[in-house]
C-alpha cells in the first residue's frame, strides 16, 4: 500500500509540473499587459518599458518559464504579487483555509444529506418518497447557486435576521455560504446514490440475504450500501475538488476572501504570480483528494485492497 501511495505521489509531481507549464503558457499568451495595468493609460511608452524590465516581462518565454519552474519546484516559491506586493505563498496560507472550510463543509453536508436522500429514494423506488427525493434533487441541480444564495440571504438575514449576510467571523458566517454551495452537490449525490443503490439492490446476493431472513435495515446498510459506495465516493471526491476551485461565486456573494476570489481578481489584474500560484496549489489539492479517494476505495472494497496487495507481491 505504501509503495502505491509513494508511486501516486511521484505521479502527482508530473501532474503538477504539467499544470504549471500549461498555466504559465496560457497566462503568457493571454492579452493584457501587467505593466500597463499597474501604471494605467497615462504612462508613457518609456515608463511602461522600464516597468516591464523591472518585472522581468521583457525576457524570452522559455527563460521566464524556466525561472518560474525553478522557483516553484526547487524553492516552492510562487513569487510576489504584482498588485499586493506580498508573497503569493503568504497570501495563499491566509486564504486557502477559508476556501478549504467552505469546500469541506460543502462535502460533508452533501454526504450527510445527499446519501440518505438517495438511499430513501432507492429503497422506496417509484413510491412517493422516491418522487419527493428526486424532485428535491432536480430542484437542487436546477437552481443557480448565486440566485439561491441571494434568496437565502433575503430570507435568513434580511427578513428573519438569524444569520449574517456576508463577511467573516464565527461559525454563523459560514452557514449560508456552505448551505448555498452544497445544494447542487446534494442533488447530484442523491441521484448518484439512488442509481448505485438500485443496481446493488437488484443483485442476487441481496435477494439471497432477504431470503435468508436478514432484516431489511441490515440488508440496506450492511450488504447493499458498502457495495454501492464506490461511485458515491467518486462523486464526493470530484465534488470536493470542484468545490475547492469553484467557490468563487459563493465567495463573491458572501464577501469571503478565499482563494477563488483572490484568483479571479488576479486574472482581471493580470497578476501572473497569483494566478499561477493559485492554480498550482489547487492542482496539488485536487491530486491529493483523488489519492485519498483511491485509498478510501481500498478501505471500503476488500477486492481493491487485495488487488494492491497482489500487485506488490508480483513485484
Amino acid at each position: 500500500m505504501w509503495r502505491y501511495v509513494l508511486k501516486r505521489l511521484g505521479m502527482m509531481l508530473f501532474v503538477v509540473l504539467g499544470v504549471a507549464i500549461i498555466i504559465f503558457t496560457i497566462m503568457y499568451f493571454t492579452p493584457g499587459d501587467p505593466a500597463l495595468m499597474l501604471l494605467g493609460s497615462t504612462a508613457t511608452p518609456e515608463q511602461l518599458e522600464a516597468k516591464r524590465v523591472a518585472m522581468g516581462l521583457n525576457q524570452p518565454f522559455l527563460i521566464q518559464l524556466l525561472l518560474f519552474l525553478r522557483s516553484v519546484f526547487l524553492r516552492f516559491d510562487f513569487g510576489t504579487s504584482y498588485i499586493l506586493k506580498v508573497p503569493v505563498m503568504q497570501e495563499l496560507i491566509t486564504r486557502f483555509p477559508r476556501t478549504l472550510i467552505l469546500a469541506t463543509a460543502c462535502m460533508l453536508i452533501s454526504a450527510l444529506v445527499g446519501i440518505p436522500l438517495g438511499i430513501t429514494a432507492a429503497v422506496h423506488q417509484n413510491k412517493w418518497q422516491d418522487r419527493l427525493c428526486m424532485v428535491v434533487a432536480l430542484l437542487g441541480v436546477s437552481l443557480p447557486g448565486f440566485w439561491l444564495a441571494l434568496m437565502m440571504v433575503l430570507l435568513f438575514s434580511v427578513k428573519l435576521g438569524w444569520l449574517p449576510s456576508y463577511g467573516m467571523g464565527g461559525i454563523e458566517y459560514y452557514i449560508l455560504p456552505c448551505v448555498a454551495n452544497s445544494i447542487s452537490t446534494i442533488a447530484m449525490q442523491a441521484r448518484q446514490t439512488r442509481s448505485s443503490m438500485l443496481d446493488v439492490i437488484r443483485s442476487d446476493y441481496i435477494t439471497t440475504a432477504r431470503a435468508k431472513g436478514v432484516d431489511e435495515r441490515s440488508v440496506i446498510y450492511k450488504h447493499a450500501l458498502p457495495n454501492a459506495l464506490i461511485p458515491i465516493i467518486t462523486i464526493l471526491g470530484n465534488g470536493f475538488g470542484k468545490a475547492l476551485g469553484g467557490t468563487v461565486i459563493i465567495e463573491s456573494v458572501f464577501s469571503i476572501p478565499g482563494i477563488g476570489l483572490y484568483m479571479i481578481t488576479a486574472i482581471n489584474n493580470r497578476d501572473y504570480p497569483v494566478v499561477r500560484g493559485c492554480v498550482v496549489v489547487l492542482a496539488i489539492a485536487f491530486s491529493l483528494i483523488m489519492l485519498v479517494v483511491d485509498l478510501v476505495y481500498a478501505m471500503v472494497d476488500p477486492r481493491i485492497k487485495a488487488e494492491y496487495a497482489s500487485k506488490s507481491l508480483r513485484r
Binding site: 499597474l38 501604471l39 499586493l84 506580498v86 464577501s255
Partner: protein
C-alpha cells in the same frame, strides 16, 4: 431600603452621563462603510485600486489638499510654500508632525517618499518632478521637469503620500498591510478582500485649534471599511443595518433609501454629479473609416444623448456637452447651445458629404465590467443603425481595454470615462495633449498642430482664459474629435441616526473622520 439606594445610584449615574461634557471632537462609536472594491493593498507609493482610492486618503496624509467644493488649496503637512523660480518651489513643513510610531516627520522623509514613489514607478504623475532636496530640517525644494502647467503644483502636492523613512523601512511589506502614517487614524486590522479597521490615534499632531484643513480630524473613534463586492449584498447590508454608509450603491437601489422609499425614515441620501463623464472617442487614424470628419459628424448627430441619459443609472444622468463633465470651474454652460444634438437629417447630410455609400462597419470597444457602458453601446447600435452604420460591440476586460488603446486597427470607437482633479482643460490635456501622450499623436491618433496649439494655449496658468478654453471647445466640436455623451450621479446613502452630515475629499471620496455625528 436597598431599593431606594439602588434607584438613587441609577439616578446618579444617569445624571453624571447627562452632565458629562460631550467630547466636542470625537463620537465614541463606530461607523461601518460599505465599499464595493477591494483595496487590495495599503502601501503609500504604489498604484491604487478603486478600493484603495477610497481608503488611502484616510490612512495617509499629503503635503496639501484641495477643498472639495471651492477648490481652494490648503497645506496639510505643508505650512507654507514659495516659488524660487518658474520650475523650483520651496516647501516648509510644520515642525510638530509625528507619525503613529512617534517618528518626527522632516524634510528628509519627504525626499525619501517622493524618491521611493519614483523608484517604484507605478504613479506616472510623479515624473513631473525632476528632483527633491532637503534644504534644512523642515524645508524641501521641489524642482519640476518643465514649468508646471495649470494645476500641476496642487495635483502633485495633493497626489502623493508622505511617510517617515524609519516607519517605511521598519515595515516588513512596504506598508502593504500595516501602514504607519501621520494621519488621525491608524489601521488596526486589515483582512485583504474583507475589511479594514481604522482607529483614531491619541495625540494626533494637528490639534483642533491649529487645524487648517477641516477634513483632517478624527470625528469618530472607529471606522470600519467592509468590502462587499456583490451589489445586491451591499443593498441588503444597508437594509439590515450591517453598514451605516455607502457611496457604491447601485442607482436602481438608491430609491429604497430616499424619502419616499421603505427605508427612507432611517437613511438619508446625498446625490452629487459625478466628476467623470461617459465620452465617445472616434479613431481618427487612417486605419478607421472615422478618419473622415463628415462620418464622425454623422455618427455624433445620430446619437440621442438625452435618451441615453434616461436609459442608464435609473435615469440619474445628465447630457454632457464636451469631453468631460460640468463639475469643473472652467466649464462654460454656453457650450450647451452649440453641440451635437440628435438630428437625423443633419446626420444623413453628413453621411452624404462623407462620400461613403452603402453600409459602414464600425467596432466599438467597451469595458465588460461596466454595465452602463454595455447599455450605452446597445443604444448606440440602434441609433447608428438609422444611418446605415453597423456597430459591432467588443466588450473587453480592463487589461484588454488598456492594451488595445494604442492599436489603431483594433477599434473605431471607444467609450471612455474620463476626469481630471481640477480643471476641464486638464481633462482634455490627458487625452489630446501630445506632450503628455508622448507618441506624437493624441490617444485617438490625431496629429493636428492646431489642436496642439489650442491645448497648449489653455493649460498654463497665464493662458487659462475663457476665450482660449472656448476656442479649444469650438475646435473640438468643429473637427468632431470626440463626443461627450452623459454624466452620472453619485449617491451617498447614510444612516441618519448615526451620521448627521457627510464630508468628501477633492476626489469625491468619503472622509468619515470629518462627518458630523
Amino acid at each position: 431600603m436597598k431599593r431606594p439606594i439602588a434607584l438613587f445610584l441609577i439616578a446618579l449615574l444617569l445624571a453624571c452621563q447627562v452632565m458629562a461634557p460631550a467630547t466636542a471632537e470625537m463620537a465614541d462609536s463606530t461607523v461601518v462603510i460599505g465599499i464595493s472594491n477591494d483595496p487590495e493593498r495599503l502601501g503609500p507609493f504604489n498604484s491604487r485600486s478603486n478600493g484603495a482610492k477610497q481608503i488611502l486618503p484616510i490612512i495617509y496624509e499629503t503635503l496639501g489638499a484641495r477643498d472639495e467644493f471651492s477648490g481652494t488649496f490648503y497645506g496639510v503637512l505643508m505650512d507654507t510654500y514659495q516659488a524660487v523660480d518658474e520650475k523650483t518651489f520651496d516647501i516648509k513643513l510644520y515642525e510638530n508632525i509625528v507619525d503613529h510610531a512617534g517618528n518626527p516627520l522632516t524634510a528628509s522623509d519627504v525626499v525619501f517618499s517622493i524618491n521611493k514613489t519614483k523608484e517604484i514607478g507605478e504613479l506616472a504623475e510623479i515624473n513631473k518632478i525632476a528632483s527633491v532636496e532637503a534644504m534644512d530640517t523642515y524645508t524641501v525644494r521641489y524642482t519640476w521637469e518643465q514649468i508646471p502647467a495649470l494645476g500641476d503644483f496642487e495635483s502633485v502636492m495633493s497626489g502623493f503620500y508622505i511617510v517617515t523613512e524609519k516607519a517605511y523601512t521598519d515595515s516588513a511589506d512596504e506598508m502593504a498591510t500595516d501602514p504607519v502614517s501621520t494621519s488621525p487614524y491608524r489601521v488596526t486590522e486589515f483582512v485583504s478582500g474583507s475589511s479594514v479597521v481604522l482607529e483614531a490615534v491619541d495625540g494626533y499632531w494637528q490639534s483642533a485649534d491649529k487645524r487648517k484643513v477641516p477634513t483632517q480630524k478624527a470625528g469618530i473613534a472607529k471606522i470600519v471599511y467592509q468590502v462587499i463586492t456583490e451589489s445586491s449584498q451591499l443593498t441588503m447590508a444597508l437594509q439590515t443595518g450591517n453598514i451605516d454608509v455607502t457611496a457604491n450603491l447601485s442607482a436602481d437601489d438608491v430609491e429604497q433609501f430616499g424619502d419616499a422609499g421603505p427605508y427612507g425614515a432611517q437613511y438619508d441620501v446625498y446625490s452629487m454629479p459625478r466628476i467623470q463623464s461617459y465620452d465617445l472617442c472616434p479613431n481618427c487614424s487612417a486605419d478607421s473609416p472615422l478618419a473622415n470628419v463628415d462620418l464622425r459628424k454623422a455618427v455624433f448627430y445620430a446619437i440621442d444623448a438625452s435618451t441615453i441619459a434616461l436609459s442608464i443609472s435609473n435615469g440619474q444622468a445628465n447630457v454632457a456637452y464636451t469631453f468631460g463633465s460640468n463639475c469643473y470651474s472652467d466649464y462654460n454652460p454656453e457650450w450647451e447651445k452649440n453641440y451635437y444634438t440628435y438630428d437625423l437629417t443633419k446626420a444623413q447630410e453628413h453621411m452624404q458629404a462623407s462620400g461613403i455609400t452603402g453600409n459602414v462597419e464600425l467596432t466599438i470597444e467597451i469595458k465588460s465590467s461596466d454595465p452602463v457602458q454595455a447599455t450605452i453601446a446597445e443604444l448606440l447600435q440602434a441609433f447608428l443603425g438609422q444611418i446605415n452604420v453597423n456597430l459591432t460591440i467588443k466588450p473587453l476586460s480592463q487589461a484588454e481595454f488598456l492594451s488595445d488603446e494604442p492599436i489603431s486597427t483594433a477599434w473605431d470607437l471607444r467609450i471612455l470615462t474620463f476626469s481630471a482633479d481640477d480643471y476641464i482643460t486638464n481633462c482634455w490635456a490627458k487625452y489630446f495633449d501630445t506632450d503628455i501622450t508622448r507618441t506624437g499623436k493624441t490617444k485617438n491618433f490625431i496629429q493636428d498642430e492646431q489642436l496642439q496649439a489650442l491645448i497648449d494655449g489653455c493649460t498654463t496658468p497665464e493662458n487659462h482664459t475663457a476665450e482660449n478654453i472656448d476656442a479649444f471647445q469650438a475646435y473640438l466640436v468643429e473637427q468632431a474629435y470626440c463626443f461627450g455623451m452623459v454624466q452620472l450621479y453619485d449617491n451617498v446613502v447614510y444612516n441618519a441616526a448615526l451620521v448627521k452630515g457627510i464630508d468628501l475629499n477633492q476626489n469625491n471620496y468619503l472622509v468619515p473622520g470629518a462627518f458630523e455625528y
